[in-house]
């Protein structure tokens, strides 16, 4: 039996599948290391659990931006114009006007070159004043020069004008288009369509309405009534694509959960597979070696444990004690250590136990534990490594399945959690395929990596499967 690790690694590299598997796993490990360093766990959970406040500038249910490469229509990205940042297309002028007051004029211009309407438009503002709040009027000027007065606002210190939710504006726009094209649009026109649409017959139907490409301008004019008064605005024209992974129904960037899901899935799977196999081996070896009463007790415990249904018990425990993913890991290990593996390994150990070299060890007085750990267990380790590697993905899937059942970690962002969110908000029904496919793809990739490596290892350690 060959046992040179160096040789076996060399042999491993001769299998193409193994190389692919190792490549996949290295990429996943790289992602994990990057994630843990770049986004510390507390920050990740804060972002993930922080609610919509943190994510206000992000579009809702946006697809990943690379989807544009595959679509004939170019979907819009989010455009943010902020007067607090020096930015192209943003001008703010304040001119004194009388003793106390001053006039303010803010111009926000941007080029809109996409083939689809934005998903939402919001204007956030903050104002500085003591008693009299500033008063603003907001205009919208389309590339062809049409000018719409959106609203007059008396500002609070912090607030937002949700343009998309402005029902009065929507009604005005509807009337405007009805007069202009002589035909009532057959749908409820929301402001983001009205403010961007090409003004011809096409606007009468939702399917044919197209946005006008060109330079848009938002003008905000108003009066500040106090000397030190100031006003800042931020216009967010929400796109329909965002980032590398898109966003979910709470505007959260999915890439955070996808990234953090990687180290969690890998460590969960590896720790579970490794510790379950090791503990099972030790239990089986002790059971086989000491025989008699020890063997009887261990085997009875195993048999009872094998009859008990694993998943229902796991669900029951996690319903009663909602716990973190690491607690889940401990419970999974605890429920599995007296699993069927104990029976399989015991059968092998019963053979090894009678090998001459074990008898020789007995003859020169090696203690039972020494024989178990130095003579019996190492003999089976090489044959166990492949199945151990293969079983990692089982536990990765188990974690995802638990999350999908709503029993996962309430805090940690994981792949399973993304799928659960997608499932509970009907993502597939609404057509948000990316939301389900991204975590699923990573899950499958992980399983594939371990499977390719496992099968190749099997060929090396299990001589009967050897091809050469």
């Amino acid at each position: 039996m060959s046992y040179r690790i160096k040789d076996q690694i060399k042999e491993l590299f001769q299998y193409k599948y193994a190389l692919i598997g190792i490549g996949i796993l290295l990429v996943l490990i790289g992602i994990s290391i990057y994630t843990v360093i770049a986004i510390p766990y507390h920050q990740a959970t804060y972002l993930w659990r922080g609610g919509e406040g943190i994510w206000l500038d992000y579009p809702r249910n946006a697809m990943p931006s690379w989807i544009n490469f595959f679509l004939p229509k170019k979907l819009p990205e989010t455009i943010i114009l902020d007067t607090q940042k020096t930015q192209k297309g943003v001008t703010k002028v304040i001119v004194p006007f009388g003793e106390q007051a001053s006039k303010v004029r803010i111009e926000l211009t941007f080029n809109y070159l996409y083939d689809d309407f934005p998903s939402e438009i919001n204007l956030f503002y903050s104002a500085k004043y003591n008693v009299s709040s500033p008063h603003l009027t907001i205009y919208w000027i389309k590339p062809e020069g049409q000018r719409f007065k959106l609203r007059e606002l008396t500002l609070r210190k912090n607030g937002a004008y949700y343009i998309s939710n402005d029902g009065k504006l929507a009604l005005n726009l509807q009337n405007y288009y009805s007069q202009k094209i002589g035909e009532e649009p057959n749908y409820v026109m929301s402001p983001e369509i009205g403010l961007f649409a090409v003004e011809d017959k096409s606007v009468s139907k939702l399917e044919t309405a197209t946005p006008l490409k060109g330079r848009y301008l938002m003008v905000i004019e108003g009066t500040l009534f106090e000397k030190n008064s100031d006003v800042n605005v931020k216009l967010v024209v929400y796109g329909k694509v965002y980032g590398a992974a898109g966003t979910d129904h709470l505007r959260r960037d999915l890439s955070i959960a996808l990234l953090w899901g990687t180290p969690i899935a890998l460590s969960f799977g590896v720790i579970a597979a490794l510790s379950i196999a090791m503990i099972q081996i030790i239990i089986a070896a002790i059971s086989a070696w000491f025989a008699g009463r020890v063997d009887f007790i261990v085997q009875k415990i195993t048999e009872v444990n094998m009859i008990l249904p694993f998943l229902p018990i796991l669900i029951m425990i996690s319903v009663f004690y909602s716990f973190s993913i690491w607690m889940l890991l401990v419970v999974v290990i605890a429920l599995s250590i007296f699993g069927s593996g104990v029976k399989t390994y015991r059968a092998v150990f019963l053979q090894i136990k009678e090998f001459p070299y074990v008898e020789a060890a007995k003859a020169y007085g090696a203690s039972s534990l020494r024989i178990v750990f130095l003579y019996i267990i190492p003999k089976v380790l090489p044959t166990i490594i492949p199945s151990l590697v293969l079983s990692v993905s089982d536990f990765v899937f188990l974690e995802a399945a638990m999350a999908l059942l709503g029993l996962g970690d309430p805090v940690a962002p994981t792949w399973g959690k993304i799928i659960e969110d997608a499932y509970s908000t009907g993502a597939l029904y609404k057509g948000y395929f990316y939301w389900v496919l991204e975590p699923s793809f990573l899950l499958i990739l992980t399983a594939l990596g371990f499977a390719l490596l496992g099968f190749s290892l099997d060929k090396i350690f299990n001589p009967r499967l050897k091809e050469r």
């Binding site: 039996m1 025989a291 070299y357 020789a360 060890a361 007085g365 003999k379």
Partner: protein
């Protein structure tokens, strides 16, 4: 006879089976002097290996009876507890080269460490010193020191056998039980191993108990010969007299079955098969296969003592 430092007296070891006890060792007595080699010969299944295991107390789980006396320097080893025996006697004063020695090496640790194992276990010395000692023993048994870092599968059969012998030697025991030390080796390697054992015997004061079914091989090393049949020693004597004139009919037949080079003689065989050790008859156990069978042979034969500590268990020699 003050030299007889190892003495076995009325040793019994029965295995328990479903159809009754197997009387593998049934009242065996013999003694060895320091530095002397006892060859224990007999057919397969006559209890040779069981006797060897009894001596080093390597008993299987299904032992029914294990009694008698084993004296080492006057101390009765049978009165020792399991842990006492393991601590003081096993491998330190009596060691063993097991049957199927070729498989007696742990496949996953290096042979150097394997040889050092007994030292580490019993003397609790650190690994470095143990390996140093292992190196010494390796050179004693003629294995190049570089082999110390190899795994068993990288060694040839002869080398593995030498490793096993090295392992038996490492604690400087007084007695080494060699249970068919050359059974799986080719003739040349056999000769090499026998020469090695001779060399060890000449250079040290270690006693060997050589268990074999190969009469020719036993003659190379033996000072004393014991012939075992059906769990009993049927003849014991010094090598010189035994090989020239065996007394027990079984011994005679055994000798006659060995082919010789110089004399023109057809090797003979013994008709019949050795009897089952479950419930052996009260009569002489060899009676059924014996060419000199007499009426009196249906009674248990006496142990007839002759000159020079020689004895034979046969009615033919009873006065």
């Amino acid at each position: 006879m003050s030299d007889e430092f190892f003495e076995v007296e009325d040793l019994y070891m029965y295995y328990r089976t479903r159809i009754g006890p197997v009387k593998a060792v049934d009242g065996v007595s013999f003694s060895i002097n320091r530095g002397e080699t006892l060859a224990l010969i007999g057919e397969s299944g006559c209890g040779k290996s069981s006797l060897a295991k009894s001596l080093i107390r390597l008993l299987p789980r299904n032992v029914e009876i294990f009694k008698g006396h084993i004296y080492l320097d006057g101390e009765d080893l049978m009165k020792m507890s399991e842990s006492q025996f393991r601590k003081n006697i096993q491998w330190q004063r009596i060691s063993m080269v097991a049957q199927a020695a070729l498989n007696s090496l742990n496949p996953v640790i290096k042979v150097g460490e394997q040889v050092a194992e007994p030292l580490i276990i019993h003397k609790e010395v650190d690994k470095k010193t143990a390996l140093e000692r292992a190196r010494e023993v390796f050179s004693l048994v003629g294995i190049p020191e570089a082999f110390i870092d190899r795994y068993p599968f990288e060694l040839s059969g002869g080398m593995r056998q030498r490793t096993i012998i090295a392992m038996a030697l490492i604690m400087n025991p007084e007695i080494i039980i060699l249970d068919e030390p050359t059974s799986a080796l080719d003739v040349l390697t056999q000769a090499n191993i026998m020469n090695l054992l001779k060399k060890i015997r000449n250079e040290s004061n270690i006693s060997f108990i050589l268990i074999t079914h190969d009469v020719g091989l036993s003659s190379e090393l033996a000072d004393k010969v014991a012939v075992m049949y059906a769990g009993q020693i049927v003849e014991l004597g010094d090598a010189e007299n035994f090989y020239s004139s065996p007394l027990h009919p079984y011994s005679q037949k055994l000798m006659a079955s060995v082919p010789t080079l110089r004399r023109d003689k057809t090797p003979e065989y013994i008709p019949g098969a050795p009897l089952s050790l479950i419930n052996p008859p009260k009569s002489c156990r060899f009676a059924d296969r014996c060419p000199f069978k007499m009426e009196i042979c249906s009674k248990e034969p006496p142990v007839v003592s002759l000159e020079k500590g020689r004895f034979v268990r046969c009615w033919l020699h009873a006065k």
